[in-house]
Amino acid sequence: MSLVSEVVDNGRAVLVKSGSFTLFSLRLLRVTPAALRRTRLVVDQVYNTGALSLVIIMLSGLFVGMVLGLQGYDLLQRFGSTESLGVAAGLALLKELGPVVTALLFAGRAGTALTSEIGLMGATDQLSAMEMMAVDPVRRVCAPRFLGGVIAMPLLAGIFSMVGIFGAQLVGVTLMGVDAGQFWSQMRGAVELRDVNQGILKSCVFGLACSAIAVYEGYHAAPTAEGVGRATTRTVVSSSVAVLVLDYMLTAVLL
């Protein structure tokens, strides 16, 4: 009996959570166009989420590309077609690794910062104070942060892919001795504009999902130190799962 009631309770909790997330997202989307006009706030957030994530994104991109170069070389060498390394690395980075790894890093680096910042604002009654002054905290605090993340994500993914391709070239061409001309020309021959667009579209969707989750968790965090900590953890977990599930669905639709 208690098992049944527990299942029912959990099911209800999931429903409540998804419902409140959907409502919050709609509210966020409604006030976002207005936030676009307050460029000052948005620029600050693009700086916080984007520019400050540059180092981790570029470093990760470089090493992911270098590993791709090594693994790809080892694999292709078995079939005697190491010249295709550029194609393998380029497509893997543009379509999958670029958007997905960037989104995961974004959730860890920028998403947590957003959640804890908004959560602490709530815990220290700054959000309530805004409401007292008839300022909508969703419009003033959440929307610019959301928008900043959405703008930053595709740019970060593009930088990640570019650095990754150079990383693959560094290992493949410089270390392993693949012909540089073959590396680039085969990549140019095989990669189409469609593939690049697919990667950009993916990272835009991931940007929307990660930013919305981070802002939602922060806004709804329990106003205690523990509550903010839990909300930050939930941001990383939900964002990562959402990114991986969305990635599969987008790939199935776009392929």
């Binding site: 620029v43 600050d44 693009v46 700086y47 984007g50 520019a51 400050l52 540059l54 380029g90 543009l94 930053a152 595709p154 740019l155 970060l156 593009g158 930088i159 892919s161 570019m162 650095v163 391709i165 990549m187 140019r188 021959g189 990669v191 189409e192 504009l193 593939d195 690049v196 990667g199 950009i200």
Partner: protein, 164 residues
């Protein structure tokens, strides 16, 4: 004040770098660079069989890519495949008795259209059709032909032996 300046510079740098990366990916990694603001003209060619030719495959002359396959259609009036080619304008001097064939790049490579120049003094114009065409070689047909020939020879040998 210095704080906001740093923010602005950082954001500007980030945005510039981001768009530069996207631009790099679009222009340098894809084969799009050829199609941009390049004048071109169209030719068409009718084949019995285009094999695995794909839209976007290169059209080459002497090994140099001079255009791309724009569309492949099937003409049900004479049961032939029609390949529409888009050739760059600067390669406009192709003799109009040139012949066109579908080749395979390497053993596992993709198929492409190769034009072998003829000797005529007049050149193809926009919208012309190339008359001399040679279909793609379908590997399965070749293999089955070879096997049937082999079997036929064996059979002939056997019947010769039986006659003796």
């Amino acid at each position: 004040m210095t704080q906001t300046r740093a923010t602005e510079i950082g954001t500007g740098l980030f945005a510039l770098l981001g768009f530069a990366a996207l631009f790099f990916l679009v222009t340098q990694i894809t084969n799009r660079s050829i199609a941009w603001n390049e004048q071109s003209y169209r030719l068409s060619a009718r084949f019995d069989n285009v094999g695995g030719l794909k839209v976007g495959a290169p059209v080459s002359m002497g090994g140099v890519t001079i255009g791309r396959v724009e569309a492949i259609e099937f003409d049900s009036s004479d049961y032939k495949a029609v390949a529409r080619l888009r050739i760059q304008q600067r390669y406009s001097r192709i003799p109009n008795d040139s012949d066109v064939a579908i080749f395979t790049a390497g053993l596992l490579g993709g198929q492409y259209v190769g034009i072998t120049p003829g000797g005529a003094e007049t050149y193809f114009k926009d919208g012309d059709q190339i008359e001399l065409t040679q279909s793609a070689v379908v590997l399965e047909n070749l293999i089955s032909k070879f096997l049937f020939d082999k079997a036929g020879q064996e059979g002939a040998k056997k019947s010769e032996g039986a006659a003796k």
